[in-house]
């Protein structure tokens, strides 16, 4: 802790690089997280979020760069720095044939907790994830939502300073999702630092103090939500739900003045996203163009500047599921 480079940051990642054969999955990623801060690492699927997180947790060695937590270097070896991190894997990672309490005890013991101290922590976590009633039940008898909560709880038994969650809401029903977001918010308020990855921009908007946007393994922007949104400078996002020759429409749109970016996105790949200045005055022109290239518009929506607009602005591509 005598390290001078550690000026109050809890986690410092510097120039992380990780290659898999020819492919560079993470390409020079650096960021810092202060104690108690909730940091969102957002980016589309395959951007390198999980790879980054695995290096942070010491599960994967970095080809270049370093990870330090509270001034101590994290590596894949058995180093004590890992004690400060609580890792929540993307998929549920629990023993289905053990009870809720047995699972929590086991993960606590891995961090040298034992006896009364262990039981106290297990009770506290059961309370935190609202599973006290089900403590004696086997995990394979729990509902999906309960397992999700226990999956997070298992990383909390040893009271980490930094909780790392890898897309904890993927494939989760809306109710559980709400519960998960609520508890992550609470952890932040209680002073725990959180590293949260997601490809849902609205989750990051809701939860995170600071956000890093990652794409193709590179950190392309970083800041508070306000700072990031400011970079798109008053541009609105126009969402046109449409059918027909979308590719032709997109290329015609790109020729228009005042249009910054155009791409097709949305859950069904049927939404044209257009990033423009002063969307309301340009709208008639956009609809007229659609008419001319035989594209049928079924819905129009104008969205104020948000993180998706930032992403579209920076990469030229819309986020897809």
């Amino acid at each position: 802790m005598t390290d001078s480079s550690n000026d109050g940051e809890l986690l410092e990642c510097a120039g992380l690089v990780r290659r898999f054969g020819e492919r560079t999955a993470v390409d020079g990623v650096s960021f810092e997280i202060a104690p108690g801060e909730t940091y969102g690492l957002i980016g589309p699927n395959g951007a390198g979020k999980t790879t980054t997180i695995r290096m942070v947790c010491g599960l994967l060695h970095a080809d270049e760069g370093s990870v330090r937590i509270a001034g101590q270097t994290v590596s894949t070896a058995a180093d004590p720095a890992k004690k400060l991190i609580g890792y929540v894997p993307q998929d549920i990672a629990l023993y289905p044939d053990l009870t809720v309490r047995e699972n929590l005890r086991f993960f606590g013991r891995l961090y040298r907790l034992r006896g009364r101290a262990l039981e106290r922590r297990v009770d506290a976590v059961l309370d935190l994830v609202d599973l006290t009633e089900r403590a004696r039940d086997r995990v394979d008898s729990l509902s999906g939502g309960m397992r999700r909560r226990l999956n997070i709880g298992a990383a909390l038994v040893h009271s980490p300073s930094l909780l790392v969650l890898d897309e904890p809401t993927v494939g989760v029903d809306p109710q559980s999702r709400h519960a998960i977001l609520g508890s992550v918010h609470r952890f932040g308020e209680e002073g725990m630092a959180v590293l949260y990855t997601t490809h849902y921009m609205e989750e990051a908007e809701r939860l995170c103090d600071r956000i890093g946007i990652i794409d193709h393994g590179r950190m392309i922007a970083e800041g508070t939500q306000r700072e990031l949104v400011a970079t798109v400078a008053e541009r609105d996002r126009v969402l046109l739900t449409a059918s027909g020759e979308l590719a032709k429409y997109v290329s015609e749109c790109r020729l228009l003045d005042r249009v910054d970016r155009v791409d097709v996105g949305g859950d069904h790949g049927d939404t044209v996203q257009i990033l423009v200045r002063d969307a309301r005055s340009l709208l008639p022109e956009l609809l007229d163009l659609a008419h001319r290239v035989d594209v049928r518009i079924r819905g129009v929506e104008i969205v104020e500047p948000d993180l998706e607009a930032v992403f579209l602005h920076l990469t030229g591509t819309a986020l897809r599921e």
Partner: protein, 389 residues
């Protein structure tokens, strides 16, 4: 250290909760050993043996005498046959369990100092034990006479007049029907089938632990719990060691239960409980080493399963878990010495025939130790070659 025990404890708990593991490692070996004991027990008690004397001399008569001696009367009933063919068909018909054919010129060869044509034993696969018994008696009879011949020749070399040697040799062949017969399985406490097959089956089923243990590693990898464990501040070897510890304990409990139950319920007898415990512990170590090797060798759960079953069946077949080692051909018996179970069963055979203490278990222990060490070295080499990504 505490993380290692936590992993071992967790694995044991999971295994105790797994009904298929319970059936495989405790119930099945006991049931199968019991059934085998019941099925084969009467063969041990008695053998009907045919004798075909084509020689007609005193040496052949001596062999009949030995087989019909009072000390074997509980075990052997003799019946004479005029020709080898008649004896063969009696064996095939199941009238007798085995027959010994003493060739013509047997006595003459012995008396003349040439190499005697040895008696042939006619056997039947269903009564391997009886044939084994006859073979043992016959071999030791011939060996005894040869020893006597040697003493006659020694006497000759020492200056006994050549004229009296023929007489001497004849006397040797006639008089020295061996007083004590030493054939495997024929000491005061004949080897009971269950004393062999109980550990045989116990070891066979414990070998399944290899696949089980290796698979549990890949299950953890797949369900993500291995990542969770690796995210904790513990060494990379701790997981393998913790899992090994639980495999050791479970193997030991399994073998211990099988031997204890077959002793209490099925009448298995070994000279020395200490020897049994030592052999069980050594086998548990061998199982741990094999499990670790398969874990390191395989890349997926599928592969682990495949490699494990090949190893298990190869070892069980070579080591003699399904057949009496002493009833199998010599080449196979030699191969059994490359297997830990072959050594362990050797130890159990000795213990089962009344040999106690270190003289029964020292060699098996050394054999199992060499096998385990070789496996461990191979594992370490593979680990070296496959540095984690």
């Amino acid at each position: 250290m505490s993380a290692l025990f936590a992993i071992a404890r967790k694995d044991l708990r999971q295994r105790l909760r797994d009904k298929s593991a319970f059936v495989l490692f405790l119930l099945a070996p006991i049931v199968v050993a019991g059934l085998m004991g019941l099925a084969f027990s009467n063969i041990n008690l008695h053998a009907k043996v045919g004798v075909v004397d084509l020689d007609g001399g005193p040496a052949a008569a001596g062999l009949s005498q030995v087989l019909g001696s009072p000390e074997l009367s509980d075990t052997v009933t003799l019946r004479g046959y005029p020709t080898a063919e008649a004896a063969r068909s009696a064996v095939d018909a199941g009238d007798i369990d085995a027959a010994v054919v003493v060739p013509a010129g047997f006595t003459a060869a012995l008396a003349g100092g040439g190499t005697p044509p040895s008696p042939t034993v006619l056997d039947d696969v269903d009564h391997a034990l009886a044939a084994q018994l006859v073979r043992g008696v016959t071999e030791s009879y011939v060996a005894q006479i040869n020893a006597d011949r040697l003493s006659v020749q020694t006497a000759l070399a020492a200056g006994v007049p050549a004229a009296s040697t023929t007489e001497l040799a004849a006397r040797a062949a006639q008089l020295h029907a061996p007083e004590r017969i030493e054939a495997r399985g024929l000491t005061d406490d004949p080897l009971k089938t269950v004393s062999y097959f109980a550990p045989g089956m116990g070891i066979f089923f414990v070998f399944f632990m290899v696949g089980f243990g290796a698979r549990s590693y890949f299950t953890e990898q797949q369900q993500g719990t291995l990542d969770r464990i690796s995210a904790a501040p513990i060494g990379s070897g701790t997981v393998l060691l913790g899992k090994s510890l639980s495999t050791f304990v479970y193997s030991l409990v399994s073998l211990g239960t099988v031997t204890t139950v077959s002793w209490l319920v099925f009448g298995a007898r070994w000279a020395d409980p200490f020897g049994v415990a030592v052999l069980c512990a050594a086998m548990a170590v061998a199982v741990v080493c094999l499990t670790t090797l398969v874990t390191v060798l395989a890349r997926t759960e599928r592969q682990a399963e495949g490699i494990a079953s090949i190893i298990v069946f190869a070892l069980a077949l070579l080591g003699g878990n399904f057949v009496y080692a002493s009833a199998s051909p010599p080449a196979l018996r030699r191969l059994a010495l490359f297997t830990p179970n072959g050594w362990a069963l050797r130890g159990f055979t000795d213990l089962g025939t009344g040999i106690g203490g270190w003289s029964a278990v020292a060699a098996p222990l050394a054999g199992i130790a060499v096998f385990s060490a070789a496996t461990a070295v191979l594992t370490l080499v593979l680990l070296r070659l496959r540095r984690p990504a």
